[in-house]
Symmetry: D3
Subunit: 252 residues, 6 copies
């Protein structure tokens, strides 16, 4: 039997850590770590909404994902210098935005936008799922901030917790939360986004140079959903601590 | 009970039609229609491979998807004029490429590239799944062409048939092959790419402003996989006809 | 004497065919064929006008031309992927727009824009002149649609028919409507846009690595103008059929 | 009868002036003036040819036209800042390149490129025709320079003189060499490029919101060709003076 | 002792020349020459201000610098064709804008913008300092024009004269106003922008592959400031002549 | 007398902190903090040099600076999404590159490139000077790594230490190391880059809407140079610790 390089069981997560208040300007700022993968997730509140949404009375949530050039094993070229966003970046940014819009009542924001930024400081597999997971915590902090500032029509606009994890088939075995060295040789690769209620938000599974049976898909979903329960517990735990900075009107 | 506007059963496909030899310059050229959705799919053979693959002795397959400006209900802006590819276009182009690379032995091509182009002439939902389905037929024709030209190291480099279909939850019911008016109000939207052997290549399911239960996912997969069997039958049928143009060395 | 590869007389057109209602979303949609050259021409009505024209009370007509990547003998690179429009595309788009603006009273539209899109599905010489010719038919259909919708200040805003053809000197002989294999070795190449009244809209003649005498220019114009008479007859013929879709308020 | 604002006869040119050696780095550098239109035209010799021409043994000539922001009545936006070349710029650059390639035997250059730059310092109509006319003089100087440097396979690679002029219908009258105030209200606008032998290189005539009769075209060509004879005389005159800088090997 | 190629003393300027009214459309248009460096500097008045400044009641001054392709010894690529502004161009444009904003009371303009354009026709070192110096003269002319047009809230919005010069260490000696052949081998390179009162606006000194002592910096500043006194005298002299064109309401 | 908001003396630095080994993929990775300004500085070694340097046998050092969107008080737009690098970013990237090239013997690298990336995680004034200071430490680590890997022709290619600091005039007083709230209202702003030997590398001083006397410049330089001595001491201190990761061949 092939065991994992880091000694984990196949259905075991890497250590997960959240540092709330990682930076101080954005309303929510969280450094999330899934093992050696480290992503800085921020939620900034800006006035106004995109033009296609103006006059609706509804807010908006948008997300941008980016990999710092030195985050990867080999330095990658900076997209601002290349002058365009690559397809992978586009795809992940859209996924993060869609995932977080599933938990928030945008009507509560009025015509304001929450901009989520997920910048990968160090990549070791699973950057998109770590980003979604950390961004939820940053979003929760931003919502707390907006509430304290008296800017929410509905005091509790978040209807659920959002978390995500990767799962794949490596060496013929279904494994949870793949680091880079497993991810790069996985036969099947899947990202699952789900809620604390166990319902699904997004499922993306891809055969990498191979196809996979329906039974494998079912097994991967089982493992991913169990993993997400643990991630949600960690999110709940860290969010049970007070807001990491000074809140408007808090006298701090 | 809410019935579908076009009278179909929930698990019924729209009429599917392939026109092989739709244009004559590319080695494979197919107009695929899923109801009113019409996509021109071509497979062109070009010498050489991308720089990161040079010297490997392996070929490559790349894909580009594009929506003609007047294909949609409201004219959409041309991406060449905007000067950049949008996120949705990027995402779909990558999906088509990944899906078709799952069926072809790229070593058989030598250092040559097959460029798949999927241009949507008319959009009525399911353009990406129609594109994958039609592109497979164009690819099969291009492979026939390459074989006749004596350019394949392996005479049969396609290991399976690739087909795709959309499925979703509309009005609380799981429905197959959504047209635009269903797609635009679907609660859950899923695209499934699979092979003639029933194995999966890619699964992408998204809650649109809602989350969905694991049971719903399972039901959607059942319906999609059954639909794909019928699509594969149509692909087999149309590919049982001879190559639509003149083949190298055929004396035609 | 050198005869033409397709057996035509020097002053003979290729077979011309118009398919009205080629797609159903735009107000006008026409597939035009000049022999093997096939261009999808659409006329879409959009609200508003460019900013420099706002407040004038006048409408606008704009045109965009594009070659699908697989339309040419060798696949050409997609301009949206290159991130910019090439000079040839720019030039032809501007020519189509100018040519069609010569026949329409833009005041009749109010501050609305007709966007002409000409996408070449298959290229075999003369794509720009086929595009202008087909776009006129699409424009006429869009005008019919706007009239039925009660959106025209003047019920008959088209003052003339616009048609175009190429002419050139090949093998020392003046020839009409050049296919690719003649065009690519023509000594002189000319595009003529004219009206059903025989007046000229645009004349562009270029010596390709050679100069040409005034007498040659005169001869080319004679041949082109005669050809345009025949094209106009074909346009009239196809437009004598009813509008190919359902018109607003038609009870269809 | 309406007379011209500057008192010229309808078929009279504006004063034309060439300043050779306007700048000293390029092999050819000419400031050309057609009345108040002033264009700096340079011909620079660079090693190598574009990739599609490599290995042919042939040289290349390319041209770029640009309007300085403050050259026009209202300052226009700089294209480098907009990040893309506009359609008009593209069109004129291509016209200048084609026109000058008609007079030069590119085989004589070996695999080297002559880059023509035409930068409009002040615009008052007819910038593209002034540019072609001035660029020919700069090209002739560059050829002299290359000859002195012993870099020409053929000592006389220019087969003819190239000149250009605009002509149009203004106030119902055919007029030569239109300044901006005539050009902006011309009913028909035409640019003619021809040789010292009286043969044509390029003819571009456009009805501006109007169409024009064949007889008008003929009249415009007569006037333009007569005007070009006078321009050629001025070119010959200025080129009868010695090369304006020091030539390689001249001991200067 | 190493003397300078052009025979100047180490602290001597090249001949400086201003041609006011170099072109006629912009409110200010000056050709400035520092030896063989020639820059066309214009100041154009446009209505409105950038969006971030709207509603402030204040005007704005912006500057763009550009090198014509043939201005340099080897032709350089046109930035509009490359599709982006290079770092050096950006840096110099920003320097010119900052420098000139130091002398003008923008409140006097109302919400209007003065656009400075500095286009280098011929480069021989010191193009940025020549540009600033010439642009000041163009700005002074534009202010005279605006005053005559009754568009200034304050009749004398310029509080000082701005001039600039380069200085460097070449062959171990501090030298003023470096031409290209000195600049390209300078050990230290410095640009100084100052006023007629002798105060500093901007100081930028750079060791080129070497570092420099504080004493060298002091010496360079001494030489530069003395040079600027002479440049200011030349600016005063040329501006003592009347405005070079016709002023609004002047009866000219 | 106006005192500083954070209680510092006018010539006092903010607390400076370096975290070496901040991330693990690049050869050098340092988080530098100047008070609340935090910049992640990495030095990555890549094979090859830019094309203009190929064949020289010399290495290259390049630098890119970027501000994360949420680093500033108001979220700023991501440059990769805008599709171009702004002028300020360009300017700072060039400054960092020039500054570090002053201390390294590029011949020792062979034809390899060190890519410096400075990404601002949190901005509170002085980001460019913090970036240079931190990047030097990352560069020193990368050089140690290269030496251990046996890839340096010269075992000690760094000739000096490079450090930088900002200084300015605020409330009429010369102050060192300005935080954002001082920087944004400074009358004069200066950045000084110097070596451990006290020689200067780069000096950039700018009057912000004001000019400044030579005496003020002298005073600012005095204060900056004294500050840099302290920064250099901090750099020496942190670099006296061992390399923070495992070195090639170290058996770690």
């Amino acid at each position: 039997m092939t065991s994992r390089a880091d000694g984990r069981a196949d259905d075991e997560l890497r250590p997960i850590k959240f540092t709330r208040g990682f930076t101080s300007h954005p309303a929510g700022s969280v450094l999330v770590e899934f093992g050696n993968t480290r992503v800085m997730c921020t939620a900034s509140v800006t006035e106004g909404v995109p033009s296609w949404r103006r006059g609706s009375g509804l807010g908006w949530l948008t997300a941008e994902y980016s990999m710092l050039p030195a985050a990867t094993h080999e330095r990658s070229k900076r997209e601002s210098v290349r002058g365009k966003i690559g397809g992978r970046t586009h795809e992940i940014s859209r996924l993060i935005g869609r995932s977080l819009r599933a938990c928030i009542d945008l009507a509560a924001l009025g015509e304001n936008t929450i901009a989520i930024d997920c910048d990968v400081l160090q990549a070791d597999g699973g950057t998109r799922t770590a980003a979604i997971t950390g961004a939820y915590v940053a979003l929760a902090d931003a919502v707390t901030y907006l509430g304290a500032a008296g800017k929410l029509a509905d005091p509790q606009p978040l209807s659920c917790i959002i978390a995500a994890v990767s799962v794949g088939v490596v060496d013929g075995r279904v494994r949870l939360d793949l680091p880079y060295d497993e991810d790069s040789r996985a036969e099947v690769d899947m990202n699952v986004v789900a809620t604390d209620a166990g319902t699904l938000v997004e499922v993306q599974g891809t055969g990498e140079g191979a196809t996979f049976a329906r039974g494998t898909l079912d097994k991967m979903l089982d493992v991913a959903c169990a993993g997400i329960e643990n991630i949600v517990a960690a999110q709940r735990e860290v969010l049970s601590q007070p807001y990491p900075g000074s809140l408007p009107g808090s006298g701090q």
